[in-house]
Subunit: 461 residues, 2 copies
């Protein structure tokens, strides 16, 4: 590693400098094409545009249209070489509220070294670094030193509903030694990050209906109130020290390894500034760790994301509601399984006598965590160090949930997320932006990674 020739490096630098403005122009074209998945706006055109960019780079492309929004698949096969799968998504969030954008969301513009535009960092800019890295290697070296597969979907912002069925039906096509992607942001401290997993999720709605219509609240002497049923049921799920009371909920939780704990302990943070940032006085009581990151990464949650019943407009109305519902998201850690947690929840509520509560599941996402001891971790850390001049922070997983389990679980590939966006990228929000220098650092990191992975086979099964 790190021993490719100075000449090679010079020619790579030269190629990137020479083509700098064209790279930006192409990324602008990519951003200019709206691709709002939730309302199917520009999705087809964006898939074709992306396929065109890939073909021009020298990637063999196939567009799979069977899924709701097309999956753009590409490959460069080097027989006998290790295979790296690169995942990304070309869809973006709706840009609303439009009046809060300084420049229009689909008219990319550079201000203060940042490319502003909807989808600029999430995920068009970060995805594009891989294409430009591959282009550079092909143009400078004549080819890439390993097999590459590209899996770009158009439904990430709506929960990737087609990705899992696609993966199930194309196991062979997607076979690889490891998966790489860049769809997050570097740490608040400015340090680069290497993310090894995501939390899972079980998202359920609890619904209680009693009677056929809202009644005058004087009937509360005799008629059961679904809001009370719901409150009592919820209060049995978690105690005031934030311990989740569903029997067996914690049974499958994998104890973090000493190395995982060590990595997380290294994440810099200032408790007081975090409290200020969130506008609160104290963190939750009852956590296992006082360390914010230890909890964020290793603790599963049971969160009320929404609750509603009866009269919720201003003022007073005396109603006995007929309907009450709550939305609950459980963030799960390895090796909890969303289906198993749902069974346990069902069983517990029934056992507690809440037979009238209907449980409607909305989302199942399995947790994923590529082992921190995996040999590719060191290769990737080293590659990042070569570009950034410092080691990345390593997160066993983030606090959020994502589709990594499709790679780690379903396809059996270690999966690594290396973010290039800065932490002020405003993703899912007005004035989303991609830092220009981070974009080019991403291209360099991609090149270095491909070179270093090609030189080592230690990460192959």
């Amino acid at each position: 590693m790190g021993d490719y020739s100075r000449d090679d490096m010079k020619r790579i630098n030269y190629y990137i400098e020479e083509n700098r403005s064209r790279f930006i122009d192409e990324l602008f074209q990519f951003i200019r094409q709206p691709s709002v998945s939730t309302r199917n706006e520009g999705i087809q055109s964006c898939a074709e545009l992306l396929a065109g960019f890939m073909t021009k780079v020298g990637i063999k492309v196939q567009i799979f249209k069977k899924s709701h929004h097309p999956i753009v698949y590409g490959e460069i096969i080097k027989e006998g070489q290790p295979t790296v799968l690169i995942y990304g998504h070309y869809d973006c969030q709706p840009p609303e509220p439009l009046d809060q954008w300084t420049s229009p969301p689909f008219e990319p513009m550079i201000r203060n070294g940042k490319i502003y535009g909807c989808g600029s960092s999430d995920n068009k800019g970060q995805l594009f670094t891989y294409l430009k890295a591959v282009e550079t290697l092909i143009q400078v070296e004549g080819s890439v030193p390993l097999s590459l597969k590209f899996l770009f979907e158009g439904e990430e912002e709506i929960g990737s509903p087609s990705l899992k069925p696609f993966a199930i039906n194309h196991r062979q096509l997607l076979k690889a030694d490891l998966a790489l992607y860049s769809d997050s942001h570097i740490h608040e401290s400015g340090k680069p990050l290497l993310i090894l997993g995501f939390k899972g999720m079980l998202y359920v709605e609890l619904i209680v209906r009693i009677g056929s219509r809202d009644l005058h609240s004087m009937q509360a002497t005799s008629i059961p109130n679904p809001a009370w049923q719901l409150v009592w049921a919820l209060s049995t799920l978690k105690d005031r020290s934030n311990h989740i009371l569903i029997p067996g909920f914690y049974d499958a939780v994998a104890e973090p390894t000493p190395l995982e704990r060590k990595m997380v302990a290294q994440i810099p943070y200032d408790e007081q500034s975090l409290l200020n940032h969130f506008g609160i006085k104290d963190f939750l009581p009852g956590r296992d760790n006082s360390n914010y990151y230890m909890n964020l990464i290793f603790e599963p949650t049971c969160n009320i994301a929404g609750i509603v019943s009866g009269y919720v407009d201003p003022g007073a109305k005396t109603v006995l509601p007929a309907l009450a519902s709550a939305k609950i998201d459980f963030r799960l850690v390895p090796n909890q399984e969303p289906m198993d947690i749902l069974d346990k929840l069902n069983h517990y509520l029934e056992q507690q006598g809440f037979k009238d509560i209907k449980i409607v599941p909305h989302m199942f996402i399995e947790p994923s965590r590529t082992p921190i001891e995996h040999p590719a971790v060191e290769i990737i850390k080293c590659s990042i160090r070569q570009v950034y001049g410092e080691d990345p922070l390593v997160l066993p997983n983030t606090g959020a949930s994502g589709p990594n389990y499709i790679f780690t679980g379903l396809l059996g590939q270690p999966c690594f997320l290396i973010p290039y966006a800065t932490c002020d990228q405003n993703n899912h929000a007005p004035n989303e932006n991609m830092n220009l220098e981070s974009f080019f650092k991403g291209i360099y990191t991609g090149i270095t990674l491909i070179q270093n992975l090609a030189k080592s086979s230690s990460f192959r099964d």
Copy 2:
């Protein structure tokens, strides 16, 4: 009682028959004038129209405009005679949804023996029976046999905010031996009713705000969730057997007298048809009585009228809310006091550690119950029997809350509510109606009541 001459009765019957269509015409005029208090629509005109009707009857009228909507006061003073105060309201609810009315809400129309129109029964038609009773007595007998005071407000449908201050400032003007009014409906069984009181109410909103904005729900590992705080707080207010847990909540509850219990036990009801009516399988567990009416009348309540936090639209969103709120109505029985219950609630939540919960009171209504042993009860029962041919059911109070405490508490008057509307009157709803024959029975009851009360002084202090 009941011994006025057959000649008198004949002349009264004759007068009412002769003037039947004019009475209906005048009531139509009254209904035709919109008087939607919540949006101040037609209120002034309606107050003046009502004052005109009263003046024509022979009542000395004053319009008090100092309050938000005018109070129309009238009197006929007979020195040395007992004084009866008649209360009513000329305002009505908004008629919406308009498309559910068979005929337009402010164009009264008779169909199947019922006058349809917004305000027809609540309260214009029922109020009007007193005016026509007084007119009949004056026209037939030359005068009324006792002093009458009339207190008609235009804010009942918005919670009577000016009535209490008006009563405080006009104690002498409103001094009377008893108060009468008609603003409800007869019993489902078709039996006439005599209502002696109302429940009180404390209506509060519990508000929990944590942090300044909604967060990504991954923060649930460290950031407190106001919806959980609220759920835990609510679950400490009432247990699953519906016992209210606020210390001292039941302390002031007056034990029903044997006569009150006896009266309530006589109310006919069919448990299964009530269950069907409400669309439920079982009544609440944990009540003191198995009798629906015993609970409705004698039990105080703690009802969740509304609760909301976080994401409540369809589908899934993973948010950690910054705000949660619940609206709670406590229906109170004699001698509970809303201010005292508020203090106890405050103290209890604080003691339970819910210091971040803000309690915003919306409504204070004191419970009222005129003693069932009051001597006027027998006079009124007898008057109703003369008109209906059967004894009324006597309710110590209804399950609802009303302004009776202004009479019973503030002004120290026994207060009696005699409904004339039928139970299918649709008040506060499209196709509100007043049964024509009930309207005329109301006029006869008013006449009989005035005559009988004049003959007895046993009800005077």
